[in-house]
Symmetry: C2
Subunit: 481 residues, 2 copies
């Protein structure tokens, strides 16, 4: 659906940051691009190549983004409506963009597209502790919502690792999850209402401040996770929860992956209030210890880090018992906040520590709870077969793992091996009844798996929904679906 | 979208239960109906009027259903596909039907429609305690899922009052909630995957056994709550939760509605694990006491019944403190299961007790937590103005109330007054930022409020989704949307 735009145009743009150059650039633009710019008020679109350069890619290292021909930094719903109306009229593709921290290429530019940044719409419009909601614009950071909620003794559960730098708009686009959403739910479950600009430029409002159903179909859930392909979110009403009660953390080391997988099942299936259940394998733990020693057991095949909330008297003992019954050799528990913080710092260090070993390619697969062991064991085998390094880590409690392939970025063969292994792990997740994405989205990177993962009638239905809502095909074409 | 079918045909059908009569009936049928029957294997459709008579209405007393011309009791997904394919080819409307316990007319027959009963598809196909799922057919009763889950130490949270007699298919159609879903979530949050037959007869499978996002758009949430207007569910994968831990129950009586509303806000917004938070007003309590004396305070303006799960040492004291701070004159607490059961029996008696006073018309409005007092006070005023009796009761914890209008069914004016008051309460809920339905659905009964509740762009979008998925308009036309 992407419009014809000659990539050869791109270098020309990069030379033209002066006014005369700009005019020459505009004169040489294809007619549809010129018509698009003409439809916008002066100054709304930026075509300065120095600026455009930083809006090409998100954080997916595997695929480089295209070269946009213009950037719009929307300041209002009306700005977004103008852009989409002009895009539909001219057929110019639009790539909506939040903070650019995505890992699937969903925010990657297409050659000749308009990048529509929502980061200037960054106001928290309201926090209502009685209704238990925050009303925010899409450019607000996840961490800012958490802070605003905390001021009222409330919390916002969705918790991607990038929470300090990722935007709510991006969280909505990918249906972000993260570490501490086992109890409070992921982004979709935390979204009560949306304002969305459709491809036509019309503004749609769906949902409300109530937590059960309302009249009509659930459009909110349809837009959440649609990666900017069905509309652009300009306002979200988010559900806040009571602040977290007393927490406790346990760290359990297992001699085998099988043992850790059993513990994941029994702990996640128990009545304990498990708010986080993370797994790190030996490769991960060794990388962490090499960067900053925490005293983790570098011989363990798998280490679980488990956080409980609203801890009852016997809860830690029950948790330790479940871990030991599953074969944990060592279980460390902490109730003191600083000790807990220390344990979690090890988990947070995992990705930076792996980054020191080479380029990293993060996968994002999810499988049913009963298939975790198969996923992990087979992933290690796949990495061996491709002679690439894989670190197994992820949100084990919901079966969502981020196998991370580490390779020398200068070695094209190593890169190819990592990509091939990553593909095989995605195919494996599908074979195990899971999905190629648990929270990062499909983007461009996983699109070639849609036919394999999805039922053909479901995929055809999704694509017909896309055509219905975006008949000109201007909204983030080539992504998600 | 409903096809022309002369209601005059109906009485004729009722006289023709013999074979000769049947043949005469078929010969006289409009060509589209004849073509529909001809497209089905012999014996799949029943046209016996004695049978059809009991498939006209659901439990909404306000509106009588139409007269169907045929009934199909589907035994398989293939049966459903046959029916929908034939219906789309001939334009004959199909009304899918579960147990018929709905309260919004969503399962009411249309004159000349086919009723498609799913109650013969009543098998629990699988319960997998490791993955934490049950795979069931739509005719399985909610109570049967709860029982099957309990055998594995698990629970199924959605909990409509009719759970012993309502079907999962109907729960999915209406996105049912109920009493004890404050923690575990309503039907949509408990549905991981669906098999759905589309109007075309194609079979679609969406979702999976994982609890986070998967590739593509969220079709599962789109079908849940769509009241049979987008497709017919033939299989559902439901999320099971750990069995409920120790519970405790408190009953708190308030001299004012305002005090009870404050308690609802503070209790629901607290860190206590509130699994149910029900309200009964004076009218309700008096009706209950008149039927079976529980010793409830018949002078209290409002009585709250609150259930906690996973009760910690101080939880009941904290709960009692919150109730007293909001002005509760009396708080009774119970930890003994039998004592708790006794308190909940009073709540379960509420509707039967009200039924003894006359015909009852149950509303199903929902408002944000901050607007509960306004809703309740204004509902009493509206009832007074219309000289009708209203009993206020409902799931206060999520702002979902069932104001129940009680009237003499033989008195047409009283019936009209109840209906008028009910309409005014729905308009009020919308004005307070709420909805005309929190769990019963729109059906036929609340459809005239869609334009008032929904944003026009959202409503137009929903209707275009309906046309996309059901171009012939055969799926439960005139309902939901």
């Amino acid at each position: 659906m992407e419009r014809a735009f000659d990539r050869q145009d791109a270098p020309r743009m990069w030379r033209m940051s002066d006014e005369a150059g700009r005019r020459a650039f505009l004169a040489e633009l294809p007619p549809d691009r010129r018509a698009f710019l003409a439809a916008l008020p002066d100054g709304l679109a930026v075509t300065d190549p120095d600026v455009l350069g930083s809006f090409r890619s998100d954080r997916l290292v595997a695929v480089e983004g295209g070269v946009p021909f213009a950037l719009v930094r929307a300041r209002s719903t009306a700005d977004v409506a103008l852009v989409l109306r002009a895009a539909t009229a001219t057929g110019v593709p639009v790539v909506p963009r939040g903070a650019g921290t995505g890992l699937s290429g969903a925010a990657n530019a297409l050659d000749g597209c308009v990048v529509l940044s929502l980061m200037a719409m960054d106001r928290i419009l309201e926090v209502d502790p009685v209704d238990g909601v925050a009303v925010v614009q899409p450019g607000v950071l996840n961490a800012a919502v958490k802070r605003a909620a905390a001021e009222h003794g409330l919390s916002y559960p969705p918790d991607p690792s990038s929470f300090e730098i990722c935007s709510i708009g991006g969280n909505l686009a990918t249906n972000a999850g993260g570490l501490r959403c086992l109890r409070g739910g992921i982004t979709r479950q935390s979204t009560l209402a949306l304002e969305v600009v459709l491809a036509s430029g019309e503004v749609l409002r769906a949902g409300g401040r109530t937590v059960k159903r309302r009249a009509g179909y659930d459009l909110v859930s349809l837009f959440v996770g649609s990666e900017g392909t069905l509309g652009v979110v300009t306002e979200a009403t988010l559900r806040l929860r009571p602040a977290r009660g007393a927490t406790a953390t346990a760290l359990a080391a297992f001699a085998t992956i099988a043992g850790a997988a059993v513990a994941v099942r029994t702990v996640a299936g128990s009545r304990l209030h498990v708010s986080a259940l993370e797994l790190m394998d030996r490769v991960t733990v060794r990388a962490v210890e090499a960067m900053r020693p925490f005293g983790l057991d570098t011989a363990a095949a798998a280490t679980l880090l488990i956080e409980l909330e609203d801890v009852g008297a016997d809860d830690l003992a029950v948790l330790e018992g479940l871990c030991r019954a599953a074969g944990a050799a060592e279980v460390v528990t902490a109730e003191d906040p600083r000790e807990q913080e220390w344990l979690w710092a090890a988990r947070r260090d995992a990705l930076p520590a792996l980054d020191r070993l080479g380029a990293t390619l993060l996968d994002d697969v999810i499988v049913p709870r009963g298939r975790i062991e198969e996923l992990l064991v087979a992933t290690e085998r796949i990495a061996r077969e491709h002679r690439t390094t894989v670190a197994l880590l992820g949100h084990a409690g919901d079966g969502n793992f981020h196998p991370t392939f580490v390779f020398d970025p200068a070695d094209a063969a190593a890169r190819a091996a990592a990509l091939a292994a990553c593909d095989e792990v995605m195919a494996l997740a599908i074979a195990l009844g899971g999905s190629v994405t648990g929270e990062h989205g499909v983007g461009t990177f996983k699109r070639h798996f849609l036919e394999r993962e999805l039922d053909p009638v479901a995929l055809a239905t999704m694509r017909s929904l896309k055509r219905l809502l975006d008949p000109a095909g201007i909204l983030n074409p080539g992504k998600a679906i």
